[in-house]
């Protein structure tokens, strides 16, 4: 069964690709170029012609925005998770801010910080903040009371306790939030580059469409799919390492 699963995992996507290729092979529709044409363009565009000019800037924005979000969300989430009063005080603000559809903030961000990289980083960070923050708070609140009593009895306090007990105990939930945020980060990267940018993958896709370079547009979409897939793979790898104990303890 396990081997069949592994085989299916490879065979099904390949079969779908073949189907797409066959279906589009004789396509003369302008908007649906043959798959071979898209792949050809992909090769010309992304290997490695526009990597430096578009892919790297996009990924840097993504990484910066995501990193800012992780640091702030965990930094703010810890005190809110530990302190019920602070949590109640912050709840209305948190609920209000996270209810704002992020693209609605784009015009504001452009006015306040301009159209440069910092605007994109800001938007990505803002969006990624909420899932991580809420999960950090919940993760810390949900720590088993026995664990807290254990640290009290044995005089484990302050930063030692935070580093060795509180954060690891909340880590599975924090990681769940980080996973959600990662896909949000990709979405906001593309949107922010479509609204105001002179480079980046999002910019390239929109620009190609506007100049009727349809195979180029398709190739950009394919690239985004691949990047999202790889980022998720990378994330899963890190999570597996960091949370190896968690999988062990719950199997």
């Amino acid at each position: 069964m396990k081997r069949l699963g592994a085989v299916l995992e490879v065979v099904v996507p390949l079969a779908l690709l073949a189907l797409w290729a066959a279906w589009s092979a004789n396509s003369d529709t302008f908007y649906y170029p043959p798959l071979t044409k898209i792949l050809e363009t992909f090769n010309e565009t992304w290997v490695f012609e526009r990597v430096g000019s578009d892919v790297v800037p996009s990924l840097l924005r993504l990484a910066a925005g995501y990193a800012v979000a992780v640091v702030i969300a965990i930094g703010v989430g810890i005190p809110l998770g530990l302190n019920a009063t602070a949590r109640r005080a912050a709840a209305p603000i948190v609920e209000f801010l996270r209810a704002i559809p992020p693209p609605a903030l784009l015009p504001l961000a452009i006015v306040v910080v301009g159209v440069g990289n910092s605007m994109k980083v800001l938007i990505i960070a803002f969006v990624c903040l909420w899932p991580i923050l809420l999960n950090t708070i919940d993760g810390i609140r949900g720590i088993d009371p026995t664990l807290n009593e254990t640290t009290r009895v044995y005089g484990v306090r302050g930063l030692t306790r935070l580093r060795l007990v509180t954060l690891p105990a909340a880590a599975p939930q924090i990681f769940a939030g980080m996973r959600t945020s990662l896909s949000l980060a990709v979405i906001m990267m593309v949107i922010s580059e479509m609204v105001a940018s002179t480079n980046g993958i999002g910019f390239f896709v929109l620009q190609s469409q506007r100049s009727f370079a349809i195979p180029e547009m398709w190739s950009g979409i394919v690239l985004l799919g691949i990047l999202g897939y790889l980022l998720n793979l990378l994330f899963t790898g890190v999570e597996r390492r960091v949370l190896a104990w968690h999988r062990g303890a719950h199997s």
Binding site: E149, Y154, V156, T160, P168, A169, W245, G248
Partner: protein, 252 residues
């Protein structure tokens, strides 16, 4: 050494602990038994300073207990919830020793883990061990902390009978080795007679002391020989009747 004076604990209108007074002497092994739901865990939490009593006081060597004292360790019933699953046995046992020097820490951990017979499992994680072994880790952690008094909250309630007997003997052994005072809460009457120097029998909630008995069984104790002694049977029957009578009284 540890004095409980007129201790009361209520949650709103519910009086968990009515009025408790008893004293635990230096190097004594005292078992606290009582019918289930008589507030034994609440009592232990008050004794360890985890919970503030509603009235009365707990005094350790002349000092009022208001938070967990350094001289005290506690072994919880739920070993799987009080060990850190992300830490190996070694790190779990070393966790309370962060302020010690590295060499001292290593020595204390090695000794304690050896005392509970888990040296081979030093680098395993708790979830890779059986329940009884996990409780041994928790005991090792308490021993490495070098407490003068060790509180145990029904520590063997969730392991099977054979493991339980092994752990009982283990605790008697480490008690000699570490020369520590032990307060052992249990609802198992045989266990309380087998282990202790003295038994504090409690009434159902609101809890008071029903009777305090001296256990004058010879040491070292033995699972077979000690339990064959007429004195063991007499004590066991006596405690059993005390508890059953109380339960019947409450049921009426």
């Amino acid at each position: 050494m540890l004095e409980i004076r007129r201790l009361k604990k209520s949650y709103g209108d519910a009086h968990a602990i009515g009025d408790l007074t008893f004293t635990i002497g230096e190097r004594e092994f005292v078992c606290v038994v009582g019918p289930s739901g008589c507030g034994k865990t609440t009592l232990l939490k008050c004794m360890s300073g985890l919970l503030a009593p509603t009235a009365g006081e707990v005094v350790l060597d002349g000092t009022l207990v208001t938070r967990p004292p350094d001289e005290m360790a506690l072994v919880f019933q739920e070993y799987s919830r009080s060990l850190m699953p992300w830490m190996s046995v070694r790190k779990n046992v070393a966790l309370p020793l962060r302020h010690r020097s590295k060499a001292e820490r290593a020595k204390l951990v090695d000794e304690a883990v050896e005392a509970v017979g888990l040296t081979r499992f030093m680098d395993r994680y708790p979830w890779q061990l059986s329940g009884g072994m996990q409780q041994r880790v928790a005991i090792a952690r308490a021993l490495a902390y070098q407490p003068q008094i060790l509180l145990m909250d029904e520590p063997f309630a969730s392991v099977d009978a054979q493991t339980r007997a092994d752990l009982e003997d283990l605790i008697l052994e480490v008690r000699e080795r570490y020369d520590v005072t032990i307060v052992f809460v249990t609802h198992d009457i045989d266990e309380s007679v087998y282990l202790s120097d003295r038994i504090v029998v409690l009434t159902p909630s609101p809890t008071t002391v029903k009777e305090i008995l001296d256990v004058e069984l010879p040491r070292p104790r033995d699972q077979v020989e000690t339990k064959e002694l007429p004195e063991f049977a007499r004590l066991r029957a006596h405690v059993y009747r005390l508890i059953k009578r109380e339960e019947a009284r409450v049921a009426q």
